[in-house]
């Protein structure tokens, strides 16, 4: 394992410290390594619904990179690939509460769901109204009552941006929740890994992949995917990712979509644009219009090489909210 780190145990606190210093105009941190969270530099916005997300670290810029005007109020980074405990989630919830309640944006993993649930109960005991949206956009995983269900992956960025814009314009908690849920209902993703990644404290790659094989249907935690296949041209891989997304979304001609091609952390953006190009051509051939685009490393898996494709069905309202100004470390426009 070669990484630009010091002690593996210090990766998250040191990284967050550097992040907060570099973006001091946007964010601040709790400072407390025992209860670490990142919040807007200005503190909670009075009267605004607070948005809190979090989860294991290793997916940067998710979530701390999305704290700022127009998006999150606070983010809670756990250990690498490990959901944070309820304490810092509670503390972040308190820091984000401007009196209008707080929305938890939770990716659908057992650990995240359980820890956020507990934090919400604790917040409730302190008279903070908390609602939660559980993002589960990964079509690689079968959705069923009897399983852990789908994972939350790329769609999380869409939910955070659009719900963030709704909160920023003054929508109340139920409305923000409804919008977040609406986005989650209309977004699907699927990913591919060309290489594994190495969790710092594990020191070994999360799986062994021969030089000529790739993993289709991976998540964002370095786990193996649904199946392993021979390496293939980008256009073919793009088809393998996009087909189930289109299918599950029930996308049809005439619809408007946001196409999001995400890098897993170790793939150059030039390759992401090659994937984007073919995915866009496919969507257009279907009669859909790619009205908005996002291409880059937005929800990653450490240094993994690979990509995911996310498609969000747009309507006028979500488009407007997507376009609304945002000022975070990782997404910024209109300001």
């Amino acid at each position: 394992m070669k990484k630009l780190i010091n002690d593996p145990a210090d990766v998250v606190p040191e990284s967050v410290e550097g992040f907060v210093q570099a973006h001091a105009d946007i964010v601040t941190s709790s400072g407390d390594p025992e209860s670490l969270f990142v919040a807007r530099a200005g503190g909670a916005v009075s009267g605004k619904v607070g948005l809190v997300s979090g989860g294991g670290s290793g997916h940067e810029p998710l979530h701390a990179g999305y704290v700022g005007v127009g998006m999150l109020d606070a983010a809670v980074p756990g250990a690498v690939f490990t959901s944070p405990t309820p304490d810092p989630i509670l503390a972040a919830t308190q820091a984000a509460d401007g009196g209008a309640g707080v929305l938890h944006i939770v990716k659908n993993y057992t650990g995240d769901v359980l820890n956020f649930e507990t934090a919400a109960e604790l917040a409730d005991a302190e008279d903070i109204a908390v609602k939660a949206v559980v993002v589960n956009d990964d079509v690689a995983v079968e959705d069923s009552l009897y399983t852990a269900g789908r994972r939350g992956v790329g769609g999380t960025v869409m939910v955070e941006k659009i719900a963030g814009a709704a909160a920023e314009r003054g929508d109340d908690l139920d409305t923000v929740l409804a919008i977040a849920t609406h986005v989650n209902d209309n977004v699907r993703s699927m990913g591919v890994a060309l290489t594994a990644c190495t969790v710092p404290h594990a020191g070994k790659p999360s799986f062994d992949l021969p030089e000529d094989e790739i993993e289709i249907g991976i998540g964002i935690h370095g786990e193996p995917g649904r199946r392993r296949i021979k390496a293939a041209p980008a256009d073919e891989i793009t088809d393998m990712l996009l087909d189930p997304v289109i299918d599950d979304l029930g996308l049809s001609s005439g619809e408007q979509v946001l196409l999001f091609v995400n890098g897993m952390g170790g793939t150059p953006s030039s390759e992401l644009y090659i994937v984007y190009r073919h995915a866009r051509a496919r969507l257009e051939a279907l009669g859909a219009t790619v009205a908005r685009s996002l291409v880059g490393n937005y929800i990653t898996s450490l240094e993994m090489q690979g990509a995911s494709i996310t498609v969000l069905r747009l309507d006028d309202e979500t488009t407007r909210l997507w376009d609304a100004p945002v000022h975070t470390a990782a997404l910024r426009w209109g300001v």
Partner: protein, 210 residues
């Protein structure tokens, strides 16, 4: 046939911390195979924190010890294992409402722990989770209690059953937890949480001299 009091509880927890440290890498490897490669580190972080708190706190009953473990795991482990083990220990603490556990007490604590895990995680036997270790463990302890055995015998039976339960997860296709994302590919690997559960119950039995 001594009942198990505070001394047992303290030596169990210390032994558990040592076992988790010793098996950190093995649990990591199990979780790398079908999860996200952190279970060993999570348990290690949690039990190291428990050791730290144990010295400062002065627990006087089995229930105190279990509660300390519960809150510490809850606030330091994170992931799925943190809330699940945390809830298990919390409910176990509530069930341990006497100074010393007899076999029935051991069975009650394990049953309460299992109930907590199921309440939070909604897994059933066969889903390839720690429930596959806890369910036979709780049943075995109850069986010993029903047939008049000692607390130590109950723990030994529970530990053996948990070990068998952990091993039973090897061929299973996971339906809960991260391994479920792998579908069929999860078969042929042991569930890390079932393994850590078996390890913890083994130290509980050993600490009871069983």
């Amino acid at each position: 046939m001594a009942d198990l009091g505070i001394d047992w509880a303290l030596s169990w927890v210390r032994a558990a911390a040592a076992t988790v440290t010793e098996h950190r890498e093995h649990l990591l490897d199990l979780d790398r195979a079908i999860g996200d490669g952190d279970h060993g580190e999570n348990m290690y972080r949690g039990f190291t924190a428990v050791l730290g708190k144990l010295d400062a706190a002065e627990p006087s009953t089995v229930g105190d010890v279990l509660k300390l473990v519960a809150t510490t795991l809850m606030s330091t482990v994170g992931g799925a294992a943190g809330p699940l083990y945390g809830t298990a220990f919390l409910r176990g603490a509530k069930a341990a409402d006497t100074d010393a556990l007899d076999a029935a007490g051991v069975a009650a604590v394990l049953a309460a722990g299992l109930e907590g895990i199921v309440a939070r995680g909604k897994a059933e036997v066969g889903d390839k989770t720690m429930v596959d270790a806890w369910t036979p463990a709780a049943a075995a302890a109850q069986h010993v209690a029903d047939s008049g055995g000692s607390a130590a015998e109950a723990l030994r039976a529970a530990a053996d059953a948990a070990r068998a339960g952990a091993e039973s997860t090897d061929p299973l296709v996971a339906r809960k937890g991260r391994a479920s994302y792998l579908g069929e590919r999860s078969a042929g690997h042991r569930d890390p949480g079932a393994e850590s559960s078996a390890l913890l119950l083994e130290t509980a039995a050993s600490a009871a001299g069983a």
